[in-house]
Every structure is written in C-alpha cells, then in structure tokens.
C-alpha cells in the first residue's frame, strides 16, 4: 500500500460513513415525533425540563440511563410513584429516607410548588417515550428483589416475562393467584411494599398486616368503614385514603401517596385474590 492509497482509504471511509450517518439522522428526525410523543411536550413539560437542568439533577441521577450514577434512574419513576408521593418527596426528601440508613440522601432543593408539578409533568413525558423497553426490568429505588413479571410500563418490548416465579393457572389457590397479582399489578405492589418485617419502603411493610389491621379497626379513632380484616385490606386497596397510616412519608393533606387507581385497573376477582393473599400475612 502506498501513502496515497492510505490517504484515499482514510478519506473515502470517512465520507461514506458520514453520508450514511447523515441519512439515518434525517430518517430519525422523521420518527422523533412519534417515538417521543412530541405532541405531549406541553409548555409544562418544557418548563419541567428546564427545572431538571436548572437544578443539575443529571449530575446525580440518570434519565434514559444517562447522567451520573450516584442516585437512582428516574426514567420510569412516575410509573412507580404517584404524583402526591413525588410532590411530597421533592418538598423534603429527608422525610422519606434516612441518611444514616442509606448513607446517602438527596439534599432538599427548595423547589417551588409550580416547579415541582412541572418537573413531574416532564418526568411523566419521559416515562412514556418509546425507548425499546429499557430498562428490561424495573429499576427500584429501595427494597429487595422483585420477580421479572413486574411490568411497570406500557411497552410491549418489556412485557415479555422471563418467568422465574411459579406461573399460576386458574385452578390454583386464590391466595397463590393473589401473590401473583401482588407482583404483577401495574404499578406492582412490590414497587412500594415489602413483606419482610421492618422493611418499610415507599409504603409500610405488609408483614404482620393482619395483626395490625385488627388493632386499627378496633380503635375508637378508625375513620373507615371496614368491619373485619378482609374488609380493611380491600378498603386499603381501592380507597387508600380511607385510613392513613401515620407518617409524613405515606400521606399529606389527608391523601395517601398510594396510587388511587387499583379499583379500576384490577378486576373484582383480582382484588379478591389479592385480599386472600394479604390476609395470610399475620
């Protein structure tokens, strides 16, 4: 090979690669709108993006897995946590996590209420971008292992379960089916609740639930309508604010941070199964 041939090789390969790259870039522009639901980029979302930039969030967190690795990925956070929870969290993270326990804490950012709601709108837009189903399995903020079937987002790609828990069939015991619902509802109960004693995550641990429920409904001050343990569990699922577990990290202004939509997203049968399962947690 001569010097000249080497030069031609360098120039030609660069030009060809650059040309292909530019063509694909043009084609990507054709598709950005649809893939990112660009029509949903409201002024609120745009302001939320500015808040994200202004407070330098990306130098601790990741979004689409890009950023810093000091704090959890937030791509799908609005699929795991409701607006009420996120609002309260952003007002004061130290009410939710303890620096001594996790050795890390998010400093309070002094966001205005409007900045908070814009930010949540932005994060919600992010969570709906079609990003090839990433993450392949949900990235949790706290808590122990969750089964693969837990599918938090709406993407088809991520909906393929790897199947490492026992599959259930219609003939199985309702309690087994309930456990399956517990893990696969959207958002999954496991995103916020543990069944280990003492492991309070975004929601309180469900270990010892039955004993606790008995005490709650027996108490004078209980505002709900449940007559028995099953009733209390059902009420907690379909009307989370009927009784509020004490603690700033669980509720604010009389509203529980637990998602309010299970009454609609789960069938009557699924709720029965869930209650049957949870009633085993003595």
């Amino acid at each position: 090979m001569t010097n000249r041939q080497a030069r031609v090789f360098a120039i030609a390969s660069t030009l060809i690669a650059a040309l292909i790259f530019l063509i694909l870039t043009l084609d990507s522009h054709r598709q950005f709108g649809e893939l990112t639901n660009a029509e949903n980029i409201t002024p609120e979302v745009t302001r939320g993006k500015d808040v994200w930039h202004k407070y330098n969030c990306i130098n601790c967190h990741t979004l689409f897995g890009e950023g810093a690795y000091y704090a959890p990925d937030l791509t799908k956070i609005t699929k795991h946590r409701g607006e009420a929870y996120l609002t309260a969290y952003m007002r004061d993270p130290s009410k939710f996590y303890d620096e001594q326990t996790h050795r890390r804490l998010m400093p309070t950012q002094d966001l205005s209420e409007e900045e908070i709601s814009d930010l949540i709108a932005f994060l919600d837009w992010v969570s709906n971008v079609d990003n090839q189903g990433w993450p392949p399995r949900p990235i949790m903020v706290t808590g122990a292992a969750v089964p693969t079937e837990f599918v938090a987002d709406t993407d088809e790609a991520s909906a393929a379960p790897a199947g490492d828990t026992t599959p259930v069939t219609a003939e199985d015991d309702p309690r087994a089916q309930g456990e399956y619902v517990y893990q696969t509802a959207s958002p999954a109960c496991t995103a916020c609740h543990s069944t280990q004693p003492g492991v309070d995550m975004a929601g309180p641990t469900l270990a010892g639930l039955v004993t606790r429920a008995q005490a709650i409904i027996a108490a004078e001050s209980y505002p709900g309508e449940a007559q028995d343990v099953e009733g209390y569990i059902r009420e907690s699922i379909v009307a989370p604010s009927a009784y509020l577990v004490p603690g700033d990290m669980y509720s604010a202004g009389g509203t529980s941070f637990m998602p309010q939509g299970y009454g609609e997203s789960l069938t009557e049968e699924q709720i029965d199964q869930l209650v049957a399962y949870l009633a085993t947690l003595k």
């Binding site: 001569t2 010097n3 080497a6 030069r7 090789f9 360098a10 390969s13 660069t14 690669a17 650059a18 292909i20 790259f21 694909l24 990507s28 598709q31 950005f32 893939l35 990112t36 660009a38 980029i41 993006k49 994200w52 202004k54 407070y55 330098n56 969030c57 990306i58 130098n59 601790c60 979004l63 689409f64 897995g65 890009e66 810093a68 690795y69 000091y70 704090a71 959890p72 996590y97 620096e99 001594q100 996790h102 050795r103 890390r104 804490l105 971008v129 990003n131 090839q132 990433w134 392949p136 990235i139 949790m140 903020v141 706290t142 808590g143 122990a144 292992a145 693969t148 837990f150 995550m201």
Partner: protein, 455 residues
Amino acid sequence: MRYKSQSVAYWYFAVAMVLFGLQLVFGLLSATKYLGPDPLLYILPFDVTKVIHTNLLIVWVLTGFMGATYWMIPDESRTELHSVKLAYLQLILWTLMGVSAIIGYLFRYGTGNKLLEQPLPHKIVIVICMLIFLYNIGMTIKKSGRFTTTEGVLLIGLVSSAVLFFPALLYYENYTVSIFYRWWTIHLWVEGVWMMIMGAFLAYLLIRLSGADREVMEKWLYVIVGLVFIAGILGTAHHYYWVGVPQYWLPIGGLFSALEPAALAGMAIYAYSAMRRSGLAHPNSLALHWTVGSAVFALFGAGLLGLAHTFPAVNKWTHGTLITAMHGHAAFYGAYAMIILAMITYTLPKMTYGRSEKGSSLGYWAFWLQISGMFGMTLSFATAGLGQVYLERIMGMGYLDAQLKIQVHFLMLIATGALFALGVALFIYDFFRHRPRFEADDEPVEDAPVKTRDS
C-alpha cells in the same frame, strides 16, 4: 527548543497541570460521597463536585492539546509561531473561561446538561478561543509553506473538534433530540476527531523518540484515521440505545462500535512496532514510556472495556451503572491524559533548566503510581459495577440497597484513587520544580529529512 515561540506551550502545560490537580481533588471528594454519609450535603453536594470534576477534565485536556499543538507546529513547519501575543491572549481568555465556569458551578450556575454544562457565555468564549487558536496555527503553517501529514491530521482533528462543538450551542425542545445531538459533540470528539489529535501526537512523538521513518509512520497514520472513522462515526449509535430513537440504531451501534477497537489496536501496534523496529534512538525514555503507555492503556480502557458493554444485549443491563464509569475513566486517561503527559514529558527538558533528558526517578514513580492507581480504580469501578448490575438490574434489588452492598468497592476506589493522586502530585511537582527557559537553541532537527507534498 529550536523556536523561541514554542515556549508558549510551557504556560499552557502549566495551566493544564494546575487544573489536573484540582480535578483530582474534586474526584476524590466525589468518591468519598459514595461511601457517605456526607457532611457537606448542603455546602458541596455530589452534583457540584461531580460537575466540577468532569469539566476540569475537559478543560485541562483541551488546554494540553493546545499547548502541545503550539509546540508541535513550529517543529513540523520549521518556523516561529505566527503570533505569540495571540497565543497568550487565547490562554488568558481560556483560563478565565475555565476558572469562572468552575466558580459558577459552585453556585449551580450551569446548563445541567451532562458534560456540556458550560453556560452559553462560556460556550461562546470557548468558540472564540478555538477560532483564535485555529487562526494562529493556520497562519503559521501558511507562512512557512511546509505542511506535513502529521500536522495535517492534527489540524483536521482540531478544526473538526470546533465544528462538532456547534450542536452544543443550540437549544432543543425535545429532550431525546438534545441527547441525540449531545453525542455528536461528545462521542464524535472522543471516538472520532480527538483520536486524530492523539494519532498525530503519537506519530510526532514516535518519529522523534524512536527515529522511525516518517514516510512509513504517516502512511499508517492515514490507515488509523480511516479505521477510526469507518467505525467511530456510525459507532455513535452505541449512545442511541434506550433513549427514544429508532430501533435500527441498535444493530448499527453494535456492529460499528464493535469495530472501534481496531483503530486503537492499530495505534498500540503502531507504537510498539515503531519502538521495536527502530530501537530507542532518543535519550528521553520516560517520554517513550508515556507514549507507548498511552497507546496501550487506550487499547485497554477504550478498546477492551468499551467493547465489553457496547453490544445492545449487554448494554441493556449495564447502561447507566458504574460499568460506564469504569470505562470512562480508563479510556479518557489512557487516550487523552496520557498522550498529553507524554508530550509534556518529551518537551519539558527542552523548556526548563537543569532537567535531565532521561527523566528523573521521580518521573518514573509518577508514571508507575499513576498507571497502577488508575488500573486499580478501573478494577474498583468494574467490581462495583458488576455488583450493581447483578443486584439491582438482574435481581431487582432497590438502587439504594444495592449501593450499600457494594460499599467495599468504594473503599477500594478511594484507596487506589489516592495512589493515583499521589502519582499525579509527583508529576506536577516534577513539572514545577525546574525553572522554565525561554531561549531557542540550535539543537539538531530530531526527525529525519522528509519529503513533504510541497517541499
């Protein structure tokens, strides 16, 4: 030093050294925050130390590139620089830009866009500095009429770096589109045009240090550049996984970025065989250590560790974890920090009084401490990252809980980081302990006579 104006390089290198030192202070500070709890939570939180750490890196590496270019161009074109005044003006402007950006970050004054955090006024100053720089270099070459291939590759690398900064100046409404173009700057810099810059410095150093034949070296330089761009341009797609762009970028990213290590392997073979074939013609064997070390460490950090997570099927699990930090540190250090340290080590005996060409034992300590420290840091990030991927991404353990389980690797990171910092401290001390010297002397031309296109 054959040309008096080459001494501007000294001041560029001096600024680079100070910023390099500062970079490590903020790096070590960030590392201790991984261990936590953080007593500085409300004074100097992680996001601030991290943004300063990465920005200092970019600024000092670019300062080093500029200094090394101001040294190399007169040598290659055999003439004084077009304007020493402009070169100093540029350095002052550049340093002010860098320092004020860092101070701004302390108060969260920045764009909050990863690696491109410089506020718009600073970005504009960056562009002005680049223009002054390119003008000065261009005029020098034009006046001399002597234009070597090595210089040509360097110059195109520098011009393209400036051009690729352009997308970073624009505003994007859509976050995904802003990610798309952010990588035009970042990826096409580090895996494209900066590789040309590195390749040119490598060729320059090898021709002088090993006495290798210029004709042969420049031919292979072309081949390396060709390999860089065949793979590197379409390889940008490895940053387009999972960010909301069309699906076809996945196979393209996997295929082309997997070819990227070829260019890096090419550079390592290039350096090694130049050294083997021609022996050590030059007394400055410490500079040769840095030169060959850079090519080899880049092959390890960028080539091998980049390849390790560049396929979509792997990246799906490792994306956004400490595995990325593992690769980022080793790659940047090997390819860009080390090549600048090589240029500094080569030029310093010519620019200071009383320094031996062969290098001091302090210089060797600095080399080996840095190499082993960085290798240890890479391993710490790798073990932490593997733990994280397994516990958090595969087992589904919560992020915060998984981080608690990998604390021991953060301890290792701090220990090896301290070792590395010691090596850097020695290098900086060695840099400043000899007085600079600004006279030209008629030392022999160190490269063999050449046939250039226009001479």
